[in-house]
Symmetry: C2
């Protein structure tokens, strides 16, 4: 089953935003054995949208659109699709009611154009929007199903998860018995794509219907193992075999599988063992705390932290000795060890992690170049430290440092279970 993805918006064609919806949808559809043949973007121009929709219906068996469902005059998708379907655009009452409730809840006045975004073509199958106000919908054009989703990625993803994925499977099944797909995503941190690929070289050789896909999602690398077979149980059995091999080959760099990213895995590991965490941050400036507390329920394990951007704050908040800062500098093993130890002692947390580094673009020296970061973890067994050097852009250095901090926490917690010695 071949699909065309159509994304609509002047802001796309002016290069103001990168279209991440198309690749996200393409990957999701690929997982459903639905191949994306074309991805097209056009402007908020009715004539261009009509031409793009007609063409998509002429060459694809399913069309998935995103964008143009908002409340403003340049949001034309509902009208254009309704026009092609020979239907009128009408207000979808449940969505209107949701929006009314929303206005009441936030006590906001109604904009004059508020009803625009709760319209759908008459007779369309409606897809509810769990993350926003504009409903999605599906119509048939020239016998081809066209599913229209909102442009904001979080709304598009929520709607896909809530109802569109199941609908695509239904449409696919209707076209005849396809292959079943067994698949698993593995999450790797601490090794780059080429190292991961080398570690898995030849993995699927001789395994019928098996394939391996890599995706860099900085700072981690995702590995997707897929097995196809007309017999779903046979595919699952071969995937289970491969699963053992993947885990053996990736070892400690594999930190999880499925949708849970490192912060969620760390919070889960701490919660499972009843441990608490605190963070002392310099170059990450609060990013570790922000990542940990992005996980719902993190209040069970995260006490808080100190953001000590200025040296004086390292002394005041964490008790780092001024002599240490003077002799070794703020970015040093000595300072970061004192930061972690001070944080743990003062907060009473079971574990405290500390980071100090040169995020750039300025501030580097030959001795301590941009990308040089010291990390320390204080636990019951003492303080361990590690150094990383990754000369990249400021946001990359900071993200990488925060992830390494979380990775040290996970190693410590997992290591404690296994009776091992903590982070390397």
């Amino acid at each position: 089953m071949l699909v065309e993805i159509l994304t609509i918006g002047d802001e796309l064609c002016r290069g103001e935003i990168v279209d991440t919806n198309s690749s996200w949808l393409a990957a999701e559809l690929w997982d459903l054995d639905v191949t994306c043949g074309w991805m097209t973007s056009c402007r908020d121009v009715a004539e261009d949208m009509r031409a793009a929709l007609r063409q998509a219906c002429a060459r694809a068996e399913l069309v998935v659109c995103s964008g143009g469902l908002g409340p403003t005059e340049d949001d034309l998708t509902v009208d254009v699709v309704a026009g092609l379907a020979g239907a009128v655009a009408e207000v979808h009452e449940p969505s209107r009611a949701r929006m009314e409730a929303r206005f009441a809840a936030v006590k906001a006045p109604r904009a004059t154009n508020w009803l625009r975004q709760v319209r759908v073509p008459a007779g369309a199958r409606v897809h509810d929007n769990p993350a926003g106000l504009a409903p999605g919908f599906e119509v048939e054009l020239d016998g081809v199903p066209v599913i229209c989703l909102p442009g904001p990625p979080r709304e598009l993803k929520a709607m896909f998860d809530a109802s569109v994925r199941a609908r695509v499977v239904e449409l696919r099944e209707r076209r005849g018995a396809p292959e079943r797909i067994a698949r698993r995503i593995y999450r790797v941190f601490g090794r780059g794509e080429s190292q991961v690929a080398a570690a898995l070289d030849g993995l699927t050789e001789g395994v019928a219907g098996a394939s391996l896909h890599f995706q860099v999602s900085f700072p981690e690398t995702l590995v997707k193992v897929v097995v196809r077979d007309r017999d779903g149980a046979a595919a699952a059995a071969r995937l289970a075999e491969l699963d053992r091999a993947v885990r053996e080959r990736l070892g400690r760099w594999l930190y999880g599988d499925g949708a849970a990213k490192l912060p969620e895995v760390v919070v889960g590991a701490l919660a499972a063992r009843g441990l608490t965490l605190a963070a002392a941050e310099s170059c990450t400036g609060g990013l570790i705390g922000a990542l940990v507390t992005s996980v719902p329920g993190s209040s069970r394990v995260f006490l808080g932290g100190a953001v000590c951007y200025a040296d004086g704050e390292k002394v005041r908040q964490l008790g780092v000795r001024p002599e240490t800062l003077a002799s070794a500098g703020a970015v040093s093993e000595e300072t970061v060890r004192e930061m972690a130890a001070g944080m743990r002692e003062r907060s009473g947390a079971d574990l405290a992690v500390a980071v100090s580094g040169i995020a750039g673009p300025g501030g580097g020296s030959e001795d301590k170049p941009v990308g040089a970061v010291w990390l320390a973890l204080a636990g019951q067994g003492g303080v361990t430290a590690r150094h990383i050097l990754w000369p990249g852009a400021r946001d990359q250095v900071r993200t990488l440092a925060a992830w390494w901090a979380l990775s040290m926490v996970l190693s410590e917690v997992a290591g404690a279970d296994a009776g091992a010695g903590g982070a390397s």
Copy 2:
């Protein structure tokens, strides 16, 4: 002049990588007064590539392709384009020589297919590759110039900078004097897209060649005002008129224009006045600090902060009174005022901002629902507080709370200049 951007590759259509080339090219072209009308991606399938190229030449005045110039068998661009142009694919001798030199320099053995990627259609205009080995090239198909660039973004950008940009200008000029574009981007925080649109309703009415574009980039809304005219000075003059009207209508919700987002504007405003900032964060968990320190040079103004997720940390780090927490609760005006005052006093910062709220999804009550956030700002003139209620997803509540905190800082700093009373 309308252009179509065509990106080619199975990895795009499987969603394994996000196509950033299209938006980068579109933005570069837009700056050259060349409007991208369509962005198309297709697989490494010769028939699809031919159809996409034919269609692009039928509707656009210039086609820019990327991808499919590599050495492997699925790199088909040279052969497909040569076929459509009625030319043979032939080795480009200067590129061959460069590649030979490269093999010699790195002492690498030649891959068997190494000559594939130094071929171009016979008679094509060649664009050298300053960052790689595969040359780019340009041919005419049906009278439309088609420029083919390599897929790796680094190589594509280097080639565009080295020769393609100048060539596009040349092609544009050859089509006669085009319209000039005057434009400005305005950044609005604190009002949603529909409210912003309502405030600017009718703005461009009667202004020749003027248009208005909105873009939600949560949590802010971008407004782009564009004026087109064959006379660049006339376009600029009308834009200047509109500029005054935009500023008047948006008032204090307009926090800046151009590329600088709120954290950068806040850091700049603080730095310009020699003021320092500290942050006391509960529900944002470090996000305010992470946003502020994402700005290079923020160490001039940001001392640090306290992430006080647990109540005990609010007492220990900020001196919040246990009685206050017991009587008013952690999410209350009283607590957040004490957090801000304590942070300011202990850190010695000129300004301290504090946040406490219910980020969800759990933890809400009728009294204090998910999305309820209290903020306070402590400055020389005392402490001001404000309450927001925005029942959204956890990451949205947190992002919104962090932006409101920054917005309060900006109002205070800008208000101090104007002799006004600070944040509302």
